[in-house]
Symmetry: C2
Subunit: 341 residues, 2 copies
DNA sequence: CAATACAGTGGGAGCGCTCTCAGGAGGACG
DNA sequence: CGTCCTCCTGAGAGCGCTCCCACTGTATTG
């Protein structure tokens, strides 16, 4: 089992350089030699030494996923696992490795280290607080970065879903169904995704000639507890429908509505955002906007790899589609066809 | 900003070798020189190039977490995220990086690659099917491996919880509370953890002079659906208590018990295993065995690092403690004190 | 005081790869 | 038929590090 370029060269009677070219798909090799070398490579089960390659190249084929939020915050929500899986899948497909850097307090140190010195070719940054100073540091050091979710820094490429459009669409559905006092449990205003969803909500209202009633808006923090608290406040203003900017907040809202002795959707309609697994199992099942974290992760990795391949050019963005999932909680069993647009 | 050993050597007026010794804490350097060099290192923000070090050393400071199950299977369960976080935390503490390899079908290729050629110093293997052929391959190639959960292969070091003891303890509690027809919804027999829990259940019965009634045992696959199906079968044999080898199966069982019009714990007691977040929120809250995946992950990483530092010696194992969490579903509000042992 | 030990240091080689450059063989062209 | 170009190949250098070995100077020993 030969394990160096040199040995493969020896075995196939060519030079190290030629083997290197074959391995790297350099076109300047005759078809005959290529076949010959590939045969030996296959037979010997040769794999290039990545450390050596990284050293010679000055860069590596490892990309890092940086998730500064810490998983603890997202328990019960498979968002981050799915995201990671998507990244891992795309990285693997493109012969890259995925390195993980989570966000516990003491971790920052290592992230910087990772970003330096060719340990990692680029970074996928994924946090709820997208203006994280860490992101700035990465950008400042010239590390190729892709953000999951729109960051404040416009120089950063990112992947995202159409939060604003999806929220508009969802809110519009509620309005179409005849609801007129549509409340919003918004996400935290420091999160671009939350702001976008709030904007989409407002878009929909003005599309129906309605104006935003601040009494019908509550700013939560995406947590179930804040959803519950928000609902308690909002109920005082008698909404006939509630759009929660996340399913988790919707779950909290649902509990509060129950406690108030109201029925969903008869007394009040409730819709969410994310389509986390729990949504379908709520009582009643929750109408929501489906996003696919797995695809988002894969898109992020792919975008980063593109950036790595062609470092020039302006920041890129990739917006993934969402899907309106209509379930009982909005008081309609209209089929999707009717509902989408 | 100097970035190579050579430059630091230049700047501090010593040789490359000396700087290398300082950086690697080699004792054969005078205190004065060490101080001097360290000063320059600090001032220049020097970090060794890991690719170069990996190449020279023939190994790297990256460890891989291999999780062949695929996250999709474990949605709604933060087990793997917590595990990963624990690993990442321990790796970071010890100046190592964590590389992620998930288990989608096409991934195997890359895992092998990872294991070769000093990309990765060692592997943490974590799967429900612990006799995964991949594990064997890793062992065969001499890659240092630590398994999360007891593997069949005895040459493999592992971390685990005391599944058997915990299950015995839990079952014993049910028996102490007076239940005599204690059923078991077991995990799949290919999983050592499941087998151990079943053994613990049997231990407890025989401790009370009872014999195992095959009619009161159902083999599930840890999934909620199998818990529900198992419960349906078991109900025909009128158990007065059920020990489910996982909380997820317990959730399924709970639904089935409800559907049958029975009350928990009045008509039948139900206890689980894992203490996933959902357990506390069940109706009624679930008595269960708490394990801490975060600690498990950290222990796995630490063990692997130990192995790396001292490759000689026989396989090691680390068994982490569990905790009995008593909630309403077992029909007892006895305090923990009374219950443990 | 000579012989020996040893702490501290520097230089060279080499880890396995990629890249640049030089050169040979063969075809196209005037 | 000589010249030029193109295609393919090989040799050398170097990426930044660690290791081994050789060396110097001082301390220890009989």
């Amino acid at each position: 089992m030969a394990s160096t370029l040199e040995e493969i060269a020896e075995l196939s009677g060519v030079s190290r350089s030629t083997v290197s070219r074959v391995v790297n798909n350099d076109p300047r090799v005759s078809e005959a030699t290529r076949e010959l070398v590939l045969e030996v490579v296959r037979k010997e089960g040769y794999r290039p030494n990545l450390a050596a390659r990284g050293l010679a190249l000055g860069r590596s084929n490892v990309i890092a996923a940086v998730i500064p939020v810490g998983f603890e915050n997202v328990l019960s929500d498979p968002y981050f696992p799915s995201l990671l899986q998507g990244m891992a899948s795309a990285a693997d497909t493109n012969d890259h490795f995925l390195m993980l850097s989570l966000g516990e307090p003491g971790f920052r140190h290592t992230v910087d280290e990772i970003a330096r010195q060719g340990v990692v070719a680029g970074v996928i940054f994924s946090a709820s607080k997208v203006d994280d100073p860490l992101l700035e540091r990465l950008v400042a050091t010239g590390t190729p970065v892709v953000s999951v979710g729109r960051p404040y820094d416009e120089r950063v490429s990112y992947v995202d879903i159409d939060n604003r459009g999806s929220a508009r669409q969802m809110t519009t559905q509620l309005l179409r169904l005849g609801y007129r006092r549509v409340a919003l449990i918004a996400g935290p205003s420091f999160a671009p995704a939350a702001v976008d969803r709030s904007d989409g909500y407002a878009d929909a209202l003005s599309g129906f000639g309605l104006r935003v009633d601040e009494n019908l808006i509550y700013e939560g923090d995406f947590s179930e507890a804040s959803g519950r608290a928000g609902m308690r406040t909002l109920l005082e203003h008698r909404p006939d429908a509630v759009f929660s900017a996340s399913d988790r907040m919707a779950a909290g809202a649902l509990n509060e509505i129950r406690s108030a002795g109201l029925r969903i959707p008869e007394d009040i309609a409730l819709v969410g955002f994310d389509d986390m697994p729990l949504a379908a199992e709520m009582e009643p099942p929750l109408t929501t906007v489906r996003q696919r974290p797995h695809q988002l992760g894969a898109a992020a990795a792919t975008l980063l790899l593109d950036l790595l391949a062609d470092p020039t050019g302006s920041p890129k963005r990739v917006i993934l589609p969402t899907e309106l999932i209509v379930r009982a909680s909005c008081g309609s069993q209209l089929n999707q066809e009717t509902l989408s647009r």
